[in-house]
């Protein structure tokens, strides 16, 4: 059992001022409109203002700020992906994470407690080892752990050879970890709002004004709003928006569920993922176990999934972590993840001029929040793909140059 003590009573950040202004009525026109006030949308607006001096920006959110996947994910942060392109964008993101709280001036509970990815069979070990070596040549920190070494870092892992799918090894990224998702969103929102960005909640985009293949603005439930450029950062709703703008994206929206336990004395002070048995878990700052599994198989916008997925996940968890047997499942919930054919994002230009898209992060979007916002802001500001974003252009599905992270993404997250 680890001795790491839980941060018990943390006083909430005081807010003499608003985190962000409320009940804003949109202006007639903006230089840039970002659709979607999730983590990626907020970060995009923040970097537009900070890196590119573009502050005449509105973020339109149909519901409440960060109420989508940003407020529903299991907050795992890592960058140990397989392909060079992925290492590029995810590790850039992780580097941004490492200074983010200081930069935006907001507590986020960013904690680099390490992320361990378990391997359970000979072929599983082979592919995880490839991942490990790929990380090495890309200078992404990663180590290979034997079962004994796994036990040293996470004593609660069952490394017995008698279980159905024994633990045979793991990759471990020490720089990986977790953060408090809401506070990340609020930090970006506050920083963006402070620089003049309008955050408009309850504002649903119902269509686009497009003239001669060039976007002029958006139609919303609050009326038409003109914009020089528009960025769609709508995760699960990207397909719906793209269709409004008259083009298709190769995305499928699927339920992804997560669950949380009651507050427990600290038993786990790293993040553990297992693709083979579909479970990933961390113990958050207050002490609750936060767990996720794979996506449901069908398209859905209902923000709920099948209970059998949860049951399967808990069975696997009890095998891997016998000490969890008595823990309680307190709450389950679901998000809508936008899955692309190669499990990699779609970032960049669209068939509509001045309309940009950032989507397809599927089950792995949270970790990419800073990097995604960074490259999206640059792409919008310069009107051309940022170099880290270029490989993720929509046209890769025509050329066939996919960035297939199914192996590396493994279990959803």
């Amino acid at each position: 059992m680890t001795s790491m003590t839980r941060r018990r009573s943390k006083v909430l950040p005081e807010h003499p001022d608003f985190l962000w202004a409320n009940n804003i009525t949109p202006k007639k026109a903006y230089d840039v409109i970002i659709i979607g006030a999730g983590g990626h949308g907020l970060a995009t607006a923040y970097y537009l203002a900070k890196n590119h001096g573009i502050t005449n920006v509105a973020i339109l959110e149909k519901s409440w700020l960060a109420g989508g996947n940003m407020g529903r994910n299991t907050t795992i942060i890592r960058s140990n992906y397989l392909w060079d392109e992925s290492a590029g964008i995810y590790d850039h993101s992780l580097k941004l994470w490492e200074n983010l709280e200081e930069e935006v001036g907001y507590e986020m509970y960013f904690s680099q407690r390490g992320v361990m990815t378990l391997a359970h069979s000979v072929s599983d070990v082979r592919s995880k080892q490839r991942n490990f070596y790929a990380n090495y040549v890309n200078d992404v920190d990663s180590v290979w752990l034997t079962p004994t070494e796994i036990k040293e870092i996470a004593p609660i892992v069952n490394i017995s050879e008698d279980i159905r799918y024994p633990v045979m090894g793991a990759t471990y990224q020490a720089r990986g970890g977790i953060a408090k998702h809401d506070w990340v969103a609020w930090g970006y929102a506050k920083a963006a709002a402070d620089m003049g960005v309008d955050i408009i909640q309850g504002c649903e985009v119902t269509g686009f004004n497009i003239v001669d293949g060039k976007v002029q603005g958006v139609k919303t439930n609050m009326g038409d709003i003109a914009a020089g450029k528009v960025g769609m950062v709508a995760a699960g709703h990207s397909s719906v928006l793209a269709n409004m703008a008259g083009f298709d994206v190769p995305l499928q929206s699927r339920p992804l569920q997560a669950l949380v336990s009651e507050l427990l004395e600290q038993v786990l002070d790293t993040v553990i993922m297992s693709g083979a048995v579909h479970v990933y878990v961390s113990q958050a700052h207050k002490g609750e176990l936060v767990m996720g599994a794979g996506t449901d198989s069908y398209n859905s916008y209902a923000q709920r999934g099948g209970f059998h997925v949860i049951e399967h996940q808990l069975a696997a968890a009890c095998e891997l972590f016998p000490i969890f047997e008595r823990a309680h499942m307190l709450r389950t919930w679901g998000g809508i993840v936008d899955i692309s054919p190669d499990a990699s994002p779609i970032i960049g230009l669209t068939p509509v001029e001045n309309l940009f898209i950032n989507s397809g992060w599927g089950t792995g979007g949270f970790k990419a929040t800073p990097g995604s916002g960074w490259v999206m802001a640059a792409t919008i500001a310069n009107g051309e793909p940022d170099k880290l974003a270029a490989p993720y252009a929509l046209d890769r599905f025509v050329s066939g140059h996919l960035i297939d992270e199914h192996g590396a993404a493994g279990v959803a997250h």
Binding site: M1, R6, R8, S9, L12, H15, F18, N23, G67, G71, H120, S121, V122, S123, R126, S127, Q129, R130, N131, F132, Y133, A134, Y136, V137, N138, D139, I163, R164, Y165, Q201, S261, E262, L263, L264, V267, R304, F307, E311, H312, L314, A316, C318, E319, P322, F324, E325, R326, A327, H328, M329, L330, T332, R396, V398, S399, G400, H401, L402, D404, G407
Partner: protein
Amino acid sequence: MSNANFTFDGKKYTGVSGESLASALLRNGVVHFTNSSYKDRPRGLMGLWVEEPNALVNIDSGPGEPMKASTTIELVDGLVVRSSQGVGDLPDTRDNSRYDKVNRHVDVLVVGAGTAGLTAAKKFAALGKDVIVMDDQPGPGGHARHLGTEISAELLAVLDLANVTYLPRTTVQGLYDQGYLVATERRTDHLDAKVHTEVSRIRTWHIRADHTVLATGAFQRHLVFANNDRPGIMLSHSAATYVTRGANPFKTAVVVTIDNQGYRDALRLHEAGVTVAAVIDIRDAASGPAIAAVNSAGIRVITGKTALDSAASDSGQVCCLTIAKADGTQSETIDADLVAISGGWTPIVHLATFIGIKPTWDPALAAFVVKRDDKLTSTAGMLAGDFGDDNEAAVFFGPQLTAEQAEVAFVDYQRDATVRDFNRAIGAGMRSIEHVKRYTSIGTAHDQGKTSGTTTMGLIGQALGKAPDEIGSLTFRPPYISIPFAALAGRDRGLLSDPIRTTPIHAWHEKAGAPMEDVGQWKRPWFFPKNSENMHAAVLRECAAVREDVGVMDASTLGKIDLQGKDVGEFLDLIYTNMFSTLKVGMSRYGLMCGVDGMVFDDGVTTRISENHWLMTTTTGGAAKVLDWLEEWLQTEWTDLEVFCTSVTEQISTVAIVGPKSRELMSRLAPDLDVSNEAFAFMENKYADVAGVPARIARISFSGELAYEINVPGSFGLHIWEKVMSQGADLNITPYGTESMHVLRAEKGFVIVGQETDGTQTPQDLDMDWIVSKKKEDFIGKRSFARVDTSREGRHQLVGILPDDGSFVIPEGAYLVAGSDEKTPPPVAHIGYVTSSYASAALGRSFALALVANGLARKGEKIAVPMAGRVVTGIITDSVFVDKENARRDG
């Protein structure tokens, strides 16, 4: 009623068997149960059942369980508990209790055995429906049990009907799509404090109900005022219920109410011998039988006032209550060791909201209710707004408070969240209920806001001058109450975690002491160690035996699909990249199949048994996937093709004998079979009696060696294997496993789908352009080969690698850099990676297969393998290392 001895925080007590632990503690005069988790404030009992936010315990006796509400624990002799301060601990010992699951389809499921539930059950039972009534309490009656009013025997009789099943102690945890429900039944905790291994402790029910009646009842709410969390401040109906049942440590009570329920409870307290100093009613005027009864009992009633603040005695228990108008202007202070709060009813809308039903706000009842009656779901009783007569209520959640008072006015007891916290949230710009919840963490604790949900929305409403339903809708997430992980894991543990698939020969492999490799759900022998051999030694020995003498391998796990019909040939031409329609009867051919994206997705050998009868083999892991694939095309695209597919994976057991001496062994096993090359050519199939079993023998080789695959019905697999072992004894017959099989095929440059491929390789990338038909107009994947990226120069291609140090086996998955052998610190530009790497007995050195950018044009070039602390060098070669001229396959 028998007594039960129990231990609470190390102290021994005696209570009444079957009463709740909370009740037993009250009975023993315990009012201060624990301290709060963040602010360490003394806390007592609030509620009666699962809504309890304070009185949590960790159970140490029996199976043990953290964080249980003491109100839901039925007292049994020998119970040992510790008070919990809102944080559970997980003992590092296994819980050996049995947990199981059952599935049930039913006409009507009634959730709740209160008056409303039983009435609904009666109605449906009379219609001849099969009805299940589930209720989370130990007995029927629901609120009636609490409110002192008894349910008529005539109504209770419904539970005895033949077509009605009643499940007490069964909590419906979730309601899902198409009438699917999940419930958990507590089956042993009320019997004793022991671990049960033969009867499940908790049974999880998976219910599919044609119709579900939600008669879930309601919780009572508290009111939010300064120091409203002291021990002795309780919900009025729970206080009244405890004392009525004789658990009464109280002398003087003040009842604070917004509705007529407070009056009923005042009467019950009064009748139970508690002095009711006053009933404080926020309403200026109210009427109803309960109020009349209170007046005639001579109990003082103060209207237009409510609780503002409280004080405590040294013990921490409340000693007096200060009352005030709603605007906070103080009036007087009243002594009491019990403050009973009736803040209105909150119907239990959880299950309804789980499937997206939005509760509606009823100001007359000061409650969110759900009125529903459709094919799948209906609601009844308090959930549907039926609060009975005499239930007027005011919409009121708490008085105006000063900043100081707000600091200690608790909304969510378990999270220690106060009015100040969400004032700050609103100050920070939070408007959505969801933001306030997340900012203050209200509603996220163990009780999931059962008592605080409506109150929170009411208070935000009060702060913003809106009605509760304008703030948002009251939503909850499954489960209804917390469930132990082990209960939801059920029996899917250990061996039952996931099905284990075995071949008919498996028992022999186990007896031989072979470690198993998990291949999908299959257990396959990995290698067959002799004495204390390690894998390295065993594999070198096995491979040498195959190349020099004869080895035997259990190939029964390969997927096998029987294909029949006149169009099979045409169909296979579309499925495989190469030509099959030209295959002669009795012959086998290796084939590669791609997805529409042109990427290799499975391979295998297919045999033409007769003109219209074929047998396809697939990879072990690909069997199900390939059968699905074939049937998808046949059923949804090429429906005019006459082809039937049947899986025969387990029907046929395959024993492969491999090596130069396999011909001798084959002739011993099948004396009637002419095994000469002339009579029995490579890729040919023959039928013969093998050791008394009619068999199909195929000359197929995955090692390059002369080999025979003996195919027999599964029931005879073990028999054939044993015969092979005995007949081959003097030929050094050597069983080998998956590891040697991998080495042998790699020496020959044969790929393994899933090892050389990862879903991004075309046949050309694997240096298998020879297997891509140029004649065929189309086949699945062909069009994708022509795309810009798939047809470009410089793609990663399959090559061999020979490390300069032949004793070093490059790790599989290692990345390669071009040329230079000096250490280059990362990040370095790589040219590819190693897919397979082994020590080879045949080569007397290590070798590897790799996918290298433009690799086919790079043979002879130097590569380096950068690894932490060292760099290994080598050279790019052809991917075939042994028997390039295919001489060995004919022996």
